[in-house]
Symmetry: none
Subunit: 129 residues, 4 copies
DNA sequence: GTGGTCTAGACCACT
DNA sequence: GTGGTCTAGACCACC
């Protein structure tokens, strides 16, 4: 698992996003214990304080909670996770559609392109880049 | 028309993207003469050198060309513009679908969400800006 | 009965306050024998030395007295207890009014808010715990 | 203006509370510019990072906002300030009544004591201690 | 070992 | 000069 941090945006923001994804996508499960701040930080190649800041952010949003001296845990309320997933999904769709609109792509063309990309993917093309 | 530059990513990259959009979306037309580097830079509120770098980038990709002493012009070959438009559109779709895939959204859910966002937009909700 | 000790303030101070409350509020009665230091400490989940320090403090203020070999007893002079109760009550009121004054709340607003809180409590809202 | 920080509770929390009070009590006014992080920190005798953390907290709650490179400003929406004031006031009342309840003081006795304290204050006694 | 907090000092971009 | 971010290293209390 690589972290792919770029130095253009605040690292702690990228950490938050990345961990959110890992929770939402099922890499972490509700109730799971997260690695310790120090381990997590070293895994991501950042300073423990930076990871601490990211985790505090996640705590503020209710995704993780800390049981002092025992570590940090993913919320065990699946609805919080589902809620975040849906929020993120909708945000992505909105940003995406706005970008396409600026390119002059309407609804039909968007749907068409999506089908094309899915077709290609189904025939073994890779997604990412 | 505001330029909305953020200081997180290299300015010239943002300028390139923005001008690409302006060409592709029809704000600039094939054969149009671009403002002078100096004017363009002052309009965007950036240093002329930065704008220069952005325009050089656009030249490299064939979107604009310099006719010495007469200034810079948008390519008069519509197919180049259409090509860019389609390339950008497809890129956006691929990136978007990859993000959604990471969230665990399949094709059907994506289509559903897109319809929802279009519905909302039709009822007066703003997109992102 | 939980002890709710927080690690922010010296433990023994919190014990003193808590036992004062238990005496003043009638949980312990005049002349009652207190549990042994060891039992009391284990009940509160603290080190016996810490409890010892707390009890010494209470002895200094005349609330409890040691009868050698027989253990520690709550004072059998009800006026001492009543005196403490009134002292604590007045202290709380003074500190409270000072805080409210800093917020710009005058006498009338304070009385109004107190009535509101009592109203809410009467309708089943919990206070603080 | 002294800061009276005690080392028992997180300093940044105390800074938040103190600045909240200063805003709510009218020492800072809506739209006022706060001292720079560095100045503010040195005035309070803390590390700039600690002050930064406190101000970030205040920003999160909407009390102050930062106009990048221009400094931080108190919100110019008086209703936010009034809202905070009322929230704090009610909290204090609740905590106070709960404490008094534990002492066995009912509503009437509380009101009586408040009047006594106000009487004393009116005759020149000091509040605080 | 855990998390939480604080400090000191640095760099960046903007103006 | 402003705020924002990051790092390194320290201390504390709890278990």
């Amino acid at each position: 698992m690589t972290w792919n941090l770029d130095s253009q945006r605040p690292i702690y923001v990228q950490l938050v996003e990345r961990i959110q994804y890992d929770i939402v996508s099922g890499h972490f499960h509700p109730g799971d214990r997260l690695p310790s701040v120090r381990d997590f930080a070293s895994e991501a190649g950042v300073n423990p304080n930076t990871m601490q800041k990211a985790l505090a952010e996640l705590e503020r949003s209710g995704l993780v909670s800390t049981q002092c001296t025992a570590g940090r845990f993913i919320t065990d309320d699946p609805s919080v996770i589902t809620g975040l997933r849906n929020t993120l999904a909708k945000q992505h769709v909105q940003v995406f559609i706005e970008k396409m609109r600026k390119l002059g792509c309407g609804r039909d063309e968007i749907l068409e392109l999506i089908d094309i990309v899915f077709e290609e993917a189904a025939h073994g093309h890779s997604f990412g880049m």
